[in-house]
């Protein structure tokens, strides 16, 4: 069961510079566990206390996973996952 994952520039330090990596898992959480086993350090940048970080956006087939159940979002073979850090900030 393979899922293609697009990695943003800032996280490519964990993937040896690779822009896309392959992973497996029937949920996003399982996929992230699988990615962590191959690219140690990645999980911490995506997940905090078991939930996706507020300022990291994850998309499954171009849909924001926040609307698909977050880390419980179901995955199937051939899905595409994209990770993008939020572009955010402000004077506050």
């Amino acid at each position: 069961m393979a899922v293609e994952v697009r990695i943003p520039t800032i996280l490519r330090q964990y993937t040896g510079g690779a822009k896309t990596v392959e992973g497996a898992g029937d949920t996003l959480a399982a996929l992230i566990d699988d990615l962590e086993s191959k690219h140690p350090g990645l999980r911490d940048r995506l997940v905090e206390n078991g939930s996706l970080r507020r300022f990291v956006n994850v998309y499954v087939n171009d849909e924001d996973v926040r609307f698909l159940g977050g880390e419980k979002a179901a995955l199937t073979d051939g899905d595409n996952v994209t990770v993008l850090p939020a572009v955010a900030g402000g004077a506050r």
Binding site: D64, T82, A86, V87, A88
Partner: protein, 137 residues
């Protein structure tokens, strides 16, 4: 140093003035590795706030897909501060995730003084840089 065309500087400032008192935000994309900000892309501030900005998540995905297809990267990421100086806040620094980008800040605190500054934000460290405005074209 950031080298940027005057018409793009003017477009960023105009966007910041238009959205005042909310913060305005956007990017200027350019060819990968060129360090040339060429394509002005104003973004919607999904937070619609005077003290916070965030690109809408679907807009963000479309923007990065588009840049990918065009072999572009975000050379400049800009936003405005509407009541404070054009200097990265603690929030700006902790959320800066493009170490290769020039972070441009514009302050719209004063109506007639233009405060347009550029910074590198890498691993939580802020370095101000010179802005060279290019005339013509």
């Amino acid at each position: 140093m950031l080298s940027i065309r005057r018409d793009i500087v003017d477009a960023i400032v105009a966007h910041a003035r238009k959205d005042h008192p909310d913060e305005a935000c956007g990017v200027v994309a350019g060819p990968v590795g060129s360090d040339r900000p060429e394509r002005f892309v104003p973004m919607l501030n999904a937070a619609r706030s005077p003290t916070f900005y965030e690109f809408d998540s679907m807009d963000l995905l479309r923007l990065y897909r588009e840049m990918d297809d065009n072999d572009e990267e975000p050379v400049v990421i800009y936003h405005s501060h509407t009541a404070t100086e054009a200097y990265p806040s603690r929030t700006d620094v902790s959320l800066a995730n493009e170490p290769g980008a020039h972070y441009v800040l514009v302050s719209t605190r004063d109506d007639d003084t233009q405060d347009f500054r550029s910074f590198r934000i890498v691993d939580g460290e802020v370095t101000e840089e010179e802005v060279q405005v290019i005339d013509g074209e």
